[in-house]
C-alpha cells in the first residue's frame, strides 16, 4: 500500500491520537512502526522521541499523564516483553492510563525464532494483569478500536494496549 495514501493505518492512528489530545509519543523503534513514527515526527502537534528502554518510555508517559499531558508508547513485541514490571507496579496500581501500541512480531511468517518465542509471552502477561488490549487486523476497525479505547482508558484510569497485527500492517517479511 502507498504509505502516503489517505487512510493508511498509521494516518488513522495519528488522526485519532490528535483528536484525543495525545501529544506525547515515546518509543523504541520498530520497522513496522516506521510510518507512524515518521508521521508524528512530521507533525508539530506531537512531541515525539526515542528512549533507551521501553520501561523508560512508560515512565515518561506516566509522569506526563500526572502532569496533565496525554501520551502513548510505541514498541515491538520484544519491547513489550520488558514491561510487565512497569505495568504491574506503576500503571496498574497507580491507575494511570498509559496507552501502548505494539507492532506484533513473532507470528504470521516470522523468520526469527527468538521473536516468535518472545511474542508468546505478550497475551498471557496482559491477561494476568487484566489489562485491556485489542489486536487490530483490519483497516476498517482501526479508528473504532483506538478511538473508543482511548476514551475508555481515560475514563477508567487504566492502561490499554493496541496490538498491530501483520494482517493490518503487512508485518516484516522474510529476509534471508
Amino acid at each position: 500500500m502507498d504509505e502516503e495514501a489517505p487512510g493508511a493505518w498509521h494516518e488513522i492512528v495519528r488522526d485519532v491520537l490528535k483528536r484525543h489530545q495525545v501529544k506525547l509519543v515515546t518509543y523504541v523503534p520498530d520497522n513496522v512502526l516506521r510510518p507512524l513514527i515518521d508521521a508524528v515526527h512530521g507533525d508539530s502537534f506531537f512531541t515525539a522521541f526515542s528512549c533507551a528502554r521501553e520501561e523508560e518510555a512508560v515512565g515518561i508517559v506516566s509522569g506526563a499523564w500526572m502532569g496533565g499531558l496525554r501520551g502513548i508508547v510505541l514498541m515491538q513485541t520484544s519491547g513489550f516483553a520488558t514491561l510487565p514490571n512497569a505495568i504491574a507496579s506503576l500503571a496498574v496500581p497507580f491507575q494511570i492510563p498509559v496507552l501502548m501500541m505494539v507492532s506484533e512480531r513473532g507470528t504470521l511468517g516470522e523468520f526469527n525464532i527468538g521473536q516468535s518465542l518472545v511474542a508468546r509471552t505478550m497475551r498471557p502477561v496482559l491477561q494476568a494483569l487484566a489489562v485491556e488490549h485489542h489486536t487490530m487486523t483490519r483497516l476498517d476497525e482501526v479508528e473504532f478500536i483506538v478511538d473508543r479505547s482511548i476514551t475508555q482508558a481515560v475514563a477508567t484510569q487504566a492502561p490499554c494496549v493496541f496490538i498491530l497485527s501483520p494482517l493490518l500492517t503487512g508485518g516484516k517479511v522474510f529476509a534471508k
Binding site: L24, C51, I60, V61, A64, G67, G68, S89, F94, I96
Partner: protein, 204 residues
C-alpha cells in the same frame, strides 16, 4: 563552568552526608510548588518523612523510573521545576534515561542521586558505585554537562538553589551514610497519584 568551582571532581572527595538531613534541606528550599519524585529504595521514605507535600510522588516499585517519571512531569508542565530523587542502585538500572534527559535538554529538571554505595533496602549489598563507578561522570558522559558532586551540606544547598534558579538539566550527586530512613511511606498508590495530580493543579 563556574557552578563546579566549589565542588569536588570525584566521588571520593565528596563528604558523606545523611539522606534525611539533606532531603529536609532540599524540601525547605522548595518555595514554588516544585514537583519531587521519590525513587524506590529508601529515597522516597525520607522524602515522605521530610513532610507531606502534595507535589511529592512516592514510588512503590518500578525500580529506576524516578528520572523518566520526573521527565514526563517536566514535559507536561514546563513552567514547574521538577526534581527526581533517586538511589544509586536504581539509576544504574536505568542509566540510559540520563541520555534521554540530556537529549531533551530538559530545562526544568534536576536529578538528585542519593549514593550510599549499596542496595540498602534489600540488605546493603554493594553497588558498583562503591567499586569505582562515578554517577556524576556517567551523567556528564551522557550529556548532562551540569552534573556535580555536592562537597558537603552547604554545597548541596547551593547546588539545589542553582538548579531551581537556572536552566537545567542538572544532576547533583550526594554521598550518603547508611542510616535507616526516618519513616515508612504509606503504600496507597491511588491516593498518592490523586494527591500528586491535585498538587500539580491537574485535578481540582
Amino acid at each position: 563552568m563556574t557552578f563546579t568551582a566549589n565542588h569536588p571532581a570525584s566521588r571520593d572527595q565528596a563528604k558523606v552526608m545523611n539522606r534525611f538531613d539533606i532531603t529536609k534541606r532540599m524540601v525547605a528550599r522548595l518555595k514554588h510548588d516544585e514537583a519531587v519524585i521519590g525513587g524506590i529504595g529508601y529515597t522516597n521514605f525520607d522524602l515522605w518523612a521530610a513532610g507531606r507535600r502534595p507535589q511529592n510522588f512516592y514510588m512503590l516499585g518500578s525500580m529506576g523510573l524516578a528520572v523518566p517519571i520526573a521527565l514526563g512531569v517536566a514535559l507536561a508542565q514546563p513552567q514547574r521545576k521538577v526534581i527526581a530523587l533517586e538511589g544509586d542502585g536504581s539509576i544504574l538500572m536505568q542509566v540510559g534515561s540520563l541520555a534521554t534527559v540530556a537529549a531533551r535538554k530538559q530545562k526544568n529538571l534536576a536529578i538528585v542521586i542519593m549514593d550510599n554505595g549499596t542496595y540498602q533496602i534489600t540488605g546493603g549489598q554493594l553497588t558498583s558505585t562503591e567499586l569505582g563507578a562515578d554517577i556524576v561522570a556517567m551523567a556528564r558522559g551522557a550529556g548532562i554537562a551540569q552534573s556535580a558532586w555536592a562537597a558537603d551540606e552547604a554545597a548541596f544547598e547551593e547546588l539545589i538553589e542553582l538548579s531551581l534558579r537556572e536552566d537545567g538539566p542538572w544532576l547533583i550527586g550526594c554521598r550518603i551514610d547508611k542510616e535507616k530512613p526516618a519513616e515508612t511511606t504509606e503504600r496507597d498508590p491511588p491516593r498518592i497519584r490523586d494527591q500528586f495530580m491535585r498538587g500539580l493543579g491537574v485535578k481540582q
